[in-house]
């Protein structure tokens, strides 16, 4: 079980393990270093400590029931993972989503992107000693997650974006919450610019460290903010627009040198663009057909009501997470009984509704895309997040492969840190935003 570095290391140099359980290794990566004093002669990265067989598991789950596994890939921006997977299945099925659901998806994706970038930069700054920045950014993230939590019911494991639309309508009070989150995030971004941009300590540890050339970045398959930091303006949202991103006004910030500082700066400026998109989403949000209902019955009450009341009377369910009530159903879910869960009123109160509910979940029924294969990618927090799905016509994917942007980034780390100091690993690794849940799958 000797690793490459153990075989090749010179006898006089020092071998040092960094990780897999190291506070700066964001999860579990092991970097084996061959050192001459503080200088890194060679290194070898070992991944797989968080491998849990995502792809194998998905091959054995139905299209509907594997959605929660996608939350756990990039667990800082689960909504983007949901969106990518769901759009791949929708492409196979050929269904269109209602306008309101589309705008909700964009809104949620951008809130996730901001929280993803905030988390990455917070950790990076903290590891360089700027603990205040960490606290500020985590504070801003909480406001964003308040919005996400109110609507989806969870902070991280959302499973919110569903095939055909979204799980439930927005929270009635989402708009003031989003406005507050935007204001708080803007304030934090301003403060962080002030704290870090000209900070000598931060600059010393990031300027001209971890430099990647354009050709190198392309050869390593870099995407996302890391690729853009080298000056290549490739963004999936612009290059292959999805969810109507081509109708939204936003810029693609790029860097010049491709070093750690540029990756930091690109992320900071990208958050401003995402804030712009969120504002446009608020303005564009189509009105819900029924208006957002504040009241309504809980599912248990609805069952009781259906037994006692005159069935001719309409039963209203609360639109938020207690089930997508019939009234809001058509605003947020596709109008095709084969692909979406029927409204809860029908399931609880009518035999036809119950049958279609069972048919949706029964083994061998449910969502069965036609035979074929599809590759769909979205702009994730750290790059092009692609789903490659092979369907054999059954209710489970024959093969599901995730293109994890982190894998391509981390593969280049050995080259980036070669010849540098041990301390340079920390900001370089931090600026890449390695999320092991996504990399190891």
């Amino acid at each position: 079980m000797s690793s490459r570095i153990q075989r090749e290391a010179r006898p006089e140099s020092l071998l040092l393990n960094m990780g897999p359980s190291h506070p700066a290794m964001h999860g579990a990566v092991r970097i084996m270093l061959e050192l001459d004093g503080e200088r890194i002669l060679n290194s070898e990265i070992e991944v797989g400590y968080l491998h849990r067989g995502f792809e194998k598991t998905c091959e054995n789950r139905t299209y509907f029931s594997l959605l929660p596994y996608t939350d756990r890939l990039n667990y800082v921006s689960p909504l983007i993972n949901n969106a990518g997977y769901v759009m791949a299945v929708e492409k196979l099925l050929g269904i269109a989503v209602p306008e309101r659901a589309r705008v909700i998806r964009v809104l949620m994706s951008e809130l996730s992107r901001i929280s993803d970038h905030l988390t990455c930069l917070a950790a990076m700054a903290m590891e360089c000693g700027a603990f205040t920045v960490f606290l500020y950014k985590i504070k801003a993230r909480e406001f964003l997650w308040d919005v996400i939590e109110a609507t989806t019911g969870a902070r991280m494991t959302t499973s919110y974006i569903r095939i055909g639309g979204v799980r439930a309508d927005l929270h009635p009070d989402y708009e003031p919450a989003v406005q507050k989150a935007l204001a708080e995030t803007r304030k934090v971004l301003k403060d962080v610019h002030g704290l870090l941009d000209k900070n000598k300590i931060f600059l010393n540890r990031t300027r001209d460290i971890g430099v990647m050339t354009q050709d190198g970045a392309i050869s390593y398959g870099w995407t996302g903010p890391a690729l853009r930091s080298t000056g290549i303006a490739y963004d999936v949202r612009k290059a292959h627009p999805y969810l109507g991103y081509d109708r939204l006004a936003f810029d693609i910030p790029t860097g010049e040198r491709g070093d750690n500082f540029d990756r930091y700066m690109v992320r900071m400026r990208e958050m401003e663009q995402s804030l712009r998109i969120v504002e446009q989403c608020l303005a564009q949000m189509p009105r819900s057909g029924a208006g957002v209902m504040a009241g309504g019955l809980e599912p248990a009450e609805a069952i009781r009501a259906s037994r006692t009341r005159n069935p001719a009377q309409p039963i209203k369910l609360s639109p938020n997470l207690e089930g997508s009530g019939k009234a809001v159903h058509k605003d947020i879910l596709a109008d095709d009984q084969r692909f979406v869960i029927p409204p809860k009123e029908e399931t609880y109160t009518s035999i036809e509704g119950l049958i279609s509910h069972f048919k949706f979940f029964m083994k061998g029924h449910g969502i069965q895309p036609p035979k074929g294969e599809v590759y769909v990618s979205v702009e994730g927090g750290n790059g092009e997040l692609g789903y490659y799905i092979v369907s054999d016509g059954t209710d489970r994917p024959y093969r599901l492969h995730l293109r994890a942007p982190c894998l391509h980034l981390l593969a280049s780390l050995e080259e980036l840190i070669k010849g540098r100091m041990v301390a340079d690993i920390i900001p370089t690794f931090g600026s890449m935003n390695i999320i092991l849940g996504e990399l190891d799958r």
Binding site: G48, L92, I218, Y220, I232, E373, V374, Y388, R441
Partner: protein
């Protein structure tokens, strides 16, 4: 229009190696013979096609087919903003294909992953080892005949 020409140019340049061309769901796909992979990739990387980026590389297991493994490559061209999918089949007995490490650096890890998960070997790969699983792991977990719940703990599980 430009999409058509890539596939047509391929067909023209390598008539004996291109097996099939299609565009399911709008994704340009070409099925080729495995011998020609390196040649075709070298051709596609140069202008006018400029497929400079290897987006993804993976494998699909089809037990029962005469050629069990299907390699899937996704290329991307920054210049023309187009993707191309290349597929080729490998028999189980000779699951060996040329390595793309000479063209792209990320092919190193991607091919290690495929070797780890499927047992496909890559000729010319500098360091073909498992990527995710440990070195003592037996079998290839993403093959269809590998049981879903099979465990190979490094430390004996508690009863």
């Amino acid at each position: 229009m430009a999409e058509k020409t890539t596939l047509e140019a391929l067909k023209q340049k390598f008539p004996e190696y291109v097996v099939e061309m299609s565009a399911p769901f709008g994704d340009e796909t070409v099925v080729i013979r495995k011998e020609a992979l390196l040649e075709i990739v070298a051709f596609l990387r140069k202008p006018p096609f400029d497929f400079q980026m290897l987006l993804d590389l993976t494998c699909v297991d089809h037990p029962g087919r005469s050629d069990r493994f299907e390699m899937v490559y996704h290329l991307f061209s920054l210049a023309s903003n187009r993707r191309l999918r290349i597929k080729l089949s490998l028999p189980e007995q000779a699951a060996v294909v040329g390595s793309l490490v000479r063209f792209w650096k990320n092919a190193n890890w991607l091919e290690r992953e495929v070797f780890d998960m499927f047992g496909v070997r890559f000729e010319g790969h500098p360091d073909l080892r498992r990527l995710f699983m440990n070195d003592a792991f037996e079998g290839h977990p993403l093959r269809k005949d590998y049981p879903l719940r099979k465990r190979q703990p490094l430390i004996p599980l508690r009863k």
